[in-house]
């Protein structure tokens, strides 16, 4: 079992490293793209303290790149969480799916936001809960989605993070090192 865990851990390390390399390549490629003059917005025509973004057309050439960047980031975040759990304990059998499902849904929400954004660029009239649809997805779904991982952490704490056996192992370790530790 230990051997299997170490293989999985090693795989996850390489996945994280691979995702970082891909992110570096994507960010690096931006330096070779021709940048439209209004890509970063511009000063408001009347209000000096405000900026405007213009039209969504400014994103037409980088939409694929931005989408890829967003997806890789989300995968990196979820892989980091899995890395934090996996390194010391491995996953109890059958628990991998919780992270896979979480990552899949996270990416799906992001993609849905991108698709609705492109609709919004063409027709900004539709609102959902008083906000443009992609903004509503960003604020009402993408923002609170990590609560899924909060819930996992709280519910699976004993199995994944720190159970009673770990506590007694730590007590032994601490007492062999120095004076008795505080209650943990």
């Amino acid at each position: 079992m230990g051997n299997v865990e170490s293989k999985v851990s090693s795989l996850l390390t390489w996945i994280l490293f691979g995702l970082l390399i891909l992110l570096c390549l994507l960010i690096g490629s931006v330096f070779f793209l021709e940048e439209p003059s209004e890509s970063q917005g511009y000063r408001h025509w009347e209000k000096e303290t405000m900026r405007q973004g213009g039209t969504g057309e400014r994103h037409s050439k980088i939409l694929w790149l931005g989408t890829a960047l967003g997806i890789l980031q989300l995968l990196f975040f979820v892989s980091c969480l899995a890395f934090g759990v996996l390194r010391q304990r491995g996953f109890p059998q059958g628990q991998w799916w919780t992270f896979l499902v979480g990552g899949f849904l996270y990416v799906l929400i992001f993609l849905f936001m991108i698709f609705t954004y492109w609709d919004y660029v063409n027709d900004p009239s539709e609102l959902f809960l008083s906000l443009p649809v992609p903004t509503a997805i960003m604020l009402l779904v993408l923002w609170p989605f990590p609560l899924y991982f909060v819930l996992l952490y709280s519910l699976r704490f004993d199995d994944w993070v720190f159970g009673k056996k770990d506590l007694s192992r730590f007590h032994k370790l601490a007492s062999s090192n120095r004076k008795p530790p505080a209650e943990n």
């Binding site: 970082l20 973004g53 980031q73 969480l81 601490a174």
Partner: protein, 494 residues
């Protein structure tokens, strides 16, 4: 006359709050008997206090003053800094919560560089971590003191006292801050965080409802006004654009696990098992208080665009003008008190880790031992750091601006690979950690000082973070696996 009444109510609320801070400082003084108490709150914080301390540390003066100003200025773009926070807090807890707490107890560490030195068995790593912390602290602290002085100046201007100079307000802010921090150390800060957190939660919800009443058709009226002027401003990417926003998302999500004023709070919890309740408190608390950032910013943008409110003199005035013009004076006073609480506790956190770097970590790394009478020197160092940061804030605006923007990115790029990844990965080496910290400082400083323009407004801190993490992984994978101390290895196996 009515305006004077409002101004006095707000000022009295703030003075009342500052009185509470002084009282907390005096109470904490009696509980601070050692450097472990001063820096680590005796490692005795309960669930609620740790939970509130974590989210209150992130929602600093920047969140209260800067956040609404950014939404007013650039639409929805800056919300990517906010929506990254829940996932960022998850990363901090999943990867660091248990590990850093156990290592701190095992090695009797009183600072983050202490734990870094224990993990990598390297005094160079300790020195570089201390240097990164000190540089970031100077930038952040300067902006916190400046934010406090600026808001104080605005509040006093609406009272019979009239407008005071910025220097006077910086001096007042410095005096209150130093008294509070020197007497109470981190104990004062974490207990103020609880008061601040409660006030912020109540205030954020009340302000959010106040915003929905500004237009007859509620929030929809605000959306329609902003959209009519510029559809992109109310879209997910705001005026900054997609790539700039996503770079913030990366920096503020992954980077939050490298913020020393936040993660040192995890070292102070009483029991590791408390973390399972602390995480939801931190995430929900932060998200609710962030409603202030969003609602005030959007409301002020719509009000100014519609001509119902004059254009702001500066973007940072969004929160203070909204509160003074559109909310009940008691609510305004409550929010201003919360604002001061946010600044005080965050500044206290920075002073704490900065003084630890000076009196504990740097001497340890250079001569292998701390200064004698560490507690007294810590208090002296606190005064010195606050004084230098106040002078920067008053007389070197450019420097503060450079260092302020540099703060979050510096912490993130220097510490995330070394701490967040390195504490979970036995293969990580001291060489990789040191190279990652040096490269992160070089990239962050280089881009800021040389004023290099990055296409599509991609954040310099995000690039530094990405590079330092890649370097860290790359060098560790290419190096021979390090030999760890047996007790450190045992903790990493837990």
């Amino acid at each position: 006359m009515i305006e004077l009444g409002r101004g006095l109510t707000v000022l009295l609320s703030v003075v009342f709050y500052m009185g509470i801070c002084v009282a907390v400082g005096l109470w904490a003084l009696r509980r601070t008997k050692s450097s472990t108490d001063f820096f680590m709150a005796g490692r005795d914080l309960g669930i609620i206090v740790t939970g509130f301390a974590v989210f209150s540390s992130i929602m600093s003066g920047f969140g209260f003053v800067g956040g609404p100003g950014l939404v007013y200025h650039m639409g929805m773009s800056s919300m990517w800094m906010v929506i990254g926070a829940p996932m960022g807090t998850c990363i901090s807890f999943y990867l660091l919560g248990k590990r850093i707490r156990l290592l701190a107890e095992l090695k009797e560490s009183i600072s983050l560089p202490d734990v870094v030195a224990a993990r990598y068995n390297s005094q160079t790593s300790r020195f570089l971590a201390s240097l990164a912390i000190l540089l970031g602290v100077m930038g952040y602290l300067g902006t916190q003191i400046l934010a406090m002085a600026t808001v104080l100046q605005d509040i006093i201007a609406n009272t019979p006292i009239g407008r005071l100079s910025l220097e006077t307000c910086v001096a007042i802010s410095f005096a209150v801050l130093v008294f509070y921090c020197v007497t109470g150390g981190i104990i004062a800060s974490v207990y103020t965080d609880v008061v601040q957190g409660v006030i912020m939660l109540i205030a954020a919800l009340m302000v959010f409802f106040a915003v929905t009443t500004i237009y007859p058709n509620g929030f929809e009226g605000i959306t329609l006004m902003i959209r009519a002027d510029d559809p992109e401003a109310i879209s997910p990417w705001g005026t900054v654009g997609m790539l700039g926003c996503l770079s913030w998302y990366f920096l503020f999500t992954v980077g939050s696990s490298g913020q020393p004023h936040v993660i040192t709070k995890l070292m102070m919890s009483k029991r590791v098992r408390d973390l399972r309740q602390t995480l939801p408190i931190s995430v929900v608390g932060y998200s609710l208080t962030a409603l202030l950032w969003l609602s005030i910013g959007l409301a002020m943008r719509a009000l100014v665009l519609s001509g119902s409110h004059p254009e702001l003199p500066r973007i940072d005035a969004a929160a203070s003008q909204f509160l003074q013009a559109y909310t009940h004076p008691l609510l305004a006073g409550l929010v201003f008190a919360a604002l001061f609480a946010a600044i005080m506790s965050t500044a206290d956190g920075f002073l704490n880790i900065g003084s630890a770097a000076i009196v504990h970590d740097i001497p340890q790394s250079l001569r292998g031992k701390s200064l004698k009478n560490e507690l007294a020197w810590a208090r002296t160092a606190t005064v010195a750091i606050a004084l230098i940061a106040s002078l920067f804030a008053t007389y070197s605006d450019d420097l503060v601006a450079i260092l302020g923007a540099f703060g979050w990115g510096t912490f993130a790029a220097a510490l995330v690979p070394v701490v967040t990844i390195g504490f979970n990965w036995k293969r990580a080496t001291a060489l990789a950690a040191n190279t990652a910290m040096i490269s992160s400082l070089a990239i962050n400083l280089g881009i800021k000082l040389l004023k290099i323009d990055i296409p599509y407004r991609i954040d310099a801190g995000a690039i530094a973070l990405l590079v330092s993490m890649t370097v860290f992984f790359g060098i560790s994978l290419l190096s021979k696996p390090p030999r760890l101390d047996s007790d450190v290895e045992a903790v990493m196996d837990l």
